[in-house]
Symmetry: C2
């Protein structure tokens, strides 16, 4: 990713890994501006010495904790998309904002035609408007590259029109799924590339899924199934069940996954399995630490220190 | 629940709330034996002064942390279902076990016919065998009471046969869904009743869902949707999307839920919503604290102190 989007062209999203040790590796490659999804992520990044340029790509109605981080010396930029969020930014002591524009994903962001008014309002409150952001989230998993490009263009034309009304140097957009197509953005908010997700892997991106959850087989049945000690509480389940290599997953309980061996495979009590979660982001949020491994050796252990809100 | 299953007839399962402050309220009603799903839950309960009788209703291959808790003075009983788990219990310094018997749920538990052999093996290693446990998990959400009773009987006849071979005073089984039907168990491992789940509520049980996730509307669109600041990372998603009262939920992202107002409802930026998670247990595991409320007043704040492993 650093080769494709060097330096500030990439604003890594820390929500994908919630780990300042990994963010430091990204910063060491020249990506010194970061995207955050929560106030806690902003606080934690600043506390870890990574506060050069933190964008909270999300709306808040109470910006006081962010103002305190800015007051302590970090650069904090906040997304705004309404009068209320502009007022919250100013009242909370945040100094810099971007106007969040809705470009086809039904989530946050003002109407593109309303972006200039938001910028004017923000400036009238003494805020510096650094530009715009917009997330073409619906495009991320479009498999056909031409279709992906066409849909990215449609979204980014909306964002560029808003940018013309707003001004500022930033056009912050994109993600792992569109990092090649989105040439409109001045910076791409990609996060998943670092650990990757099964769904993105299926979409033909040149990154590998790096994150597994290590579990142990704690029980086997003469009726043919095995049970590993990972479950709902250690896996992001919104995309469904995890994959157990060599096994067919039947179901997950709070602390268990029941599966049967595929043809030619067998599992014994005590065996370790490396399960692939169906969705990496929420899986990371459930764990206190990640172990960086080289084969079977643990090279480093990283606290997942940006969890919570 | 205390009226139906007084004192030691109920062994509350702490996995459902992971909160020692709530466990203390259960203990104050006479339920001084508890069920745990993880080693961390056992450690945390003992550290909180609730170590009178802790059952880890789960298999482990390394029981040393449990042995340390027992050595420090708590009563720790561990489920075993294989030679390896018996050996792990003995090697780890655990002194008391129950034989976990598979009674129809494809998960842990030995074959009922094998339970006596497990007990003999455990006793040969110097372990005290307190009895049996078995979980009729497949019966929990059976809606028809007669069918639920019939299926509970089928499962418990297997467990009672195993108990005859194993000995000991405990027959530990059941859950919130079968607390009325399971008259075979000497103690019922119910946990969900304390906070309840949407699915159990639908099954006609006389407990109310107590847990909501408080969120704020951070954005609204002229196109009709609203966005609240709770998402995949604050909700157990294995049972699907949360319910937002007055709204139709479209989808959840990491930190957002997009929904549209139902007829006659409207939502404005800044509004608070109390979302009902589709599954309470894994939702609790995502949060650092719970606020006990009376209307809009926060009466107490409880750390969710049994998270992790």
């Amino acid at each position: 990713m650093s080769a494709a989007l060097p330096g500030r062209r990439l604003r890594p999203h820390v929500k994908a890994h919630k780990t300042t040790a990994l963010a430091w590796l990204q910063a060491a490659r020249g990506h010194t501006g970061f995207t955050c999804a929560t106030v806690r992520e902003v606080e934690g990044m600043a506390a870890a010495g990574l506060g050069t340029d933190l964008l909270l790509a999300n709306e808040v109605l109470d910006a006081r904790r962010l103002g305190a981080v800015a007051e302590a010396g970090a650069c904090v930029t906040l997304a705004v998309d309404s009068e209320q969020t502009v007022e919250a930014a100013a009242a909370g002591g945040v100094r810099e904002v971007v106007v969040d524009v809705e470009v086809g994903l039904p989530r946050c962001g003002c109407d593109p035609a309303d972006a200039g008014r938001m910028a004017d309002l923000a400036r009238s409150k003494g805020l510096e408007v650094r530009g715009v952001m917009g997330y073409e989230g619906r495009v991320m998993l479009v498999e056909d590259p031409e279709d992906r490009l066409a849909q990215t263009r449609t979204a980014m034309e909306l964002l560029m029109a808003a940018h013309a009304d707003v001004g500022g140097e930033l056009v912050s957009a994109g993600g792992t799924g569109t990092y090649r197509e989105n040439t409109w953005a001045t910076e791409v908010q990609a996060g998943s590339y670092a650990l990757m997700d099964t769904a993105y892997t299926a979409a033909g991106l040149p990154f590998e899924q790096a994150l597994t959850v290590l579990a142990r087989v704690v029980s086997t049945s003469p009726k043919g199934w095995a049970v590993a000690d990972l479950g709902l509480k250690s896996l992001g389940m919104d995309h469904g069940n995890p994959t157990v290599p060599g096994g067919l997953v039947w179901f997950c309980s709070d602390e268990h996954t029941t599966f049967s061996p595929l043809d030619g495979e067998s599992f014994a009590v005590g065996d370790l399995v490396r399960a692939l979660p169906a969705h990496v982001d929420p899986t990371v949020a459930l764990h206190e630490r990640m172990h960086l491994i080289d084969g079977d050796d643990v090279v480093e252990t990283w606290p997942v220190d940006l969890r919570g809100w």
